[in-house]
Symmetry: C2
Subunit: 330 residues, 2 copies
């Protein structure tokens, strides 16, 4: 294992200190317990939007903290759920008196710990579970589908609604709606290596890919031979469309998400093909993100996320945001 670290036990703390210093205009980092809050928190009268999950998926979630998106994020150890005390402390630090919305990727550990925190928090609390991965129904770490890069879309849209002063019930219903309109599918060309493990998570041969991979390098739908990008992307788009079953003419947000080690040159090629196939299927791509937004440490590969949109979702997507990872309109 080759990594630029001083030891896997101090990696997260040292990295969070760097993140906090690099983005001191946007966030404050707390180390014990670990959480990241927007620098201007709490915002009185505003629903507090709180997310979190295992580290190793950066910029998710810390890179989504800031005006127009998350109020707080709780980073667990690499690929490990944050603890209830982290979540409680983070939610308390950003409580503006208008309730707390928890955005949780559907992994058993995350679900359990966010639920426990929700029970112990004062004030109104609602939870949106994100389960956008169409690849597998149940999996190694989940009952039901996994939450993957669609989380970025949910956090952006719900974050904009909270910023605009909408109620907790409104924000929660919107989050459910965006999640239901979102499907993702990923492929891995190489495995990630978890620092504490020291060896690759998956064994993938030099001529193989994992189709439908999860964001922890966990198995997906099938192991298959590497094919030209257009053939792989064709299958990815087909599977996402089969799940979402959009009416012809429904506009979409398309996110091509790198898993960490895939060059932008390849991600833009994937975007080119995916966009064309969506438009051929009667789904015009009206908003786009291409880049590393929900990574799996140093895994090579990418995922496609499609969100079927409407005027409300697009207006909230376009609303100003200023975070380490997304910045427009302010």
């Amino acid at each position: 294992m080759k990594k630029l670290i001083n030891g896997h036990d101090v990696l997260l703390a040292e990295s969070l200190l760097g993140f906090g210093a690099a983005h001191a205009d946007l966030v404050r980092v707390n180390l014990d317990p670990r959480f990241i809050v927007r620098a201007d928190a709490p915002r009185p009268g505003k629903v507090a939007v709180v997310s979190g999950g295992g580290s190793g998926h950066e910029p998710l979630h810390g890179g989504m903290v800031g005006p127009g998106m998350l109020d707080a994020a709780c980073p667990g150890e690499v690929f490990t759920s944050p603890t209830p005390d982290q979540i409680i402390a983070a939610a308390q630090a950003v409580d503006g008196g208008a309730g707390t919305l928890l955005i949780v990727k559907n992994y058993s550990g995350d679900v359990m710990n966010f639920e426990m925190a929700a029970e112990l928090l004062a004030g109104e609390v609602a939870t949106v579970l994100v389960n956008d991965d169409v690849a597998v129904e149940d999996s190694l770490y989940t009952t039901g589908r996994r939450g993957v890069a669609g989380t970025v879309v949910v956090e952006k849209v719900v974050g904009a609604a909270a910023e605009a002063g909408r109620s907790l019930a409104d924000c929660a219903a919107l989050g459910e709606r965006v999640n239901a309109a979102t499907g993702s599918l990923g492929v891995a060309l190489t495995s990630c290596t978890v620092p504490a493990a020291g060896t690759p998570t998956l064994e993938i041969a030099e001529d193989e890919i994992e189709f439908g991979v999860g964001i922890h390098g966990e198995a997906g739908r099938r192991r298959e031979k590497l094919r030209p990008a257009d053939a792989i992307v064709g299958d990815m788009v087909a599977d996402v469309l089969a799940d979402l079953a959009p009416a012809r003419g429904t506009p979409a947000i398309l996110l091509v998400n790198g898993f960490g080690a895939t060059p932008l040159l390849e991600l833009h090629l994937v975007y080119h093909t995916a966009r064309r196939l969506l438009e051929d299927a009667g789904v015009p791509v009206v908003r786009t993100l291409v880049g590393n937004y929900t990574t799996s440490l140093d895994m090579a590969g990418c995922s496609l996320t499609v969100t079927l949109a409407d005027d409300e979702i697009l207006a909230l997507w376009d609303a100003p945001v200023r975070t380490a990872a997304l910045r427009w309109g302010m």
Copy 2:
């Protein structure tokens, strides 16, 4: 070799089409010859800032095209200089009648082709050569030092000056000044693989790194055993400071640049250490970038870039910019 491509001969064109579609609000892509221009070009009365170089370093240079930065970028094939006809066509497409400034990384092929273009272009033309890599004096592809991630700083600062209406001579002098105030050093943990070659550029053992590596995976100062990040970063900071020899108290812009396959978790850890060491050396870090800005395809590793700043440079750094890779203030 595992890559999400359809063939190395069509990779660049397909990727450029994706880039153009993903960023249609910012840029226009021309395929024959290949160049990227800002969507609102030409800007009458403004110095046109044009850069380019081999592909494989994305988001450099196409991701730097837009208001407040580059007017045009010319992508060559992967790790191959753009041709004079590309450069000429790009410069003509963005000519606002106030002269053309070429920003060129110091590689023999790039220097030759940009020089040839400069001779054939009508109107006033000036060139800024970027040679910020302190690792080696001459190298495989250069006479003198290599131009690496410091190019991003030069392009940002000079782009802001041109946007503010400053003259060609002013912009050129400023570019020279920023380049002279900038030093970079990179380390590779793994090799990149050029699609047309199909095999890794460098052989690096599982316990080794290349200290002082170039952005094409070319050899640097020395091959050495992997050490803890703090020890590696300590040597990187020391070498950059030895080159720049800053007066105590000089403020700096610090860029921690990922080469393509290094997780943000590690880049923020490197930033944490580098910032502390610079501040211990009396160089306060007043501006920051952490991320993949000048990559080497899928190479793991990173570089540090330090620019010694003053009020003029900082004001131009802070000026609004809106490109695929950098976006603030607008």
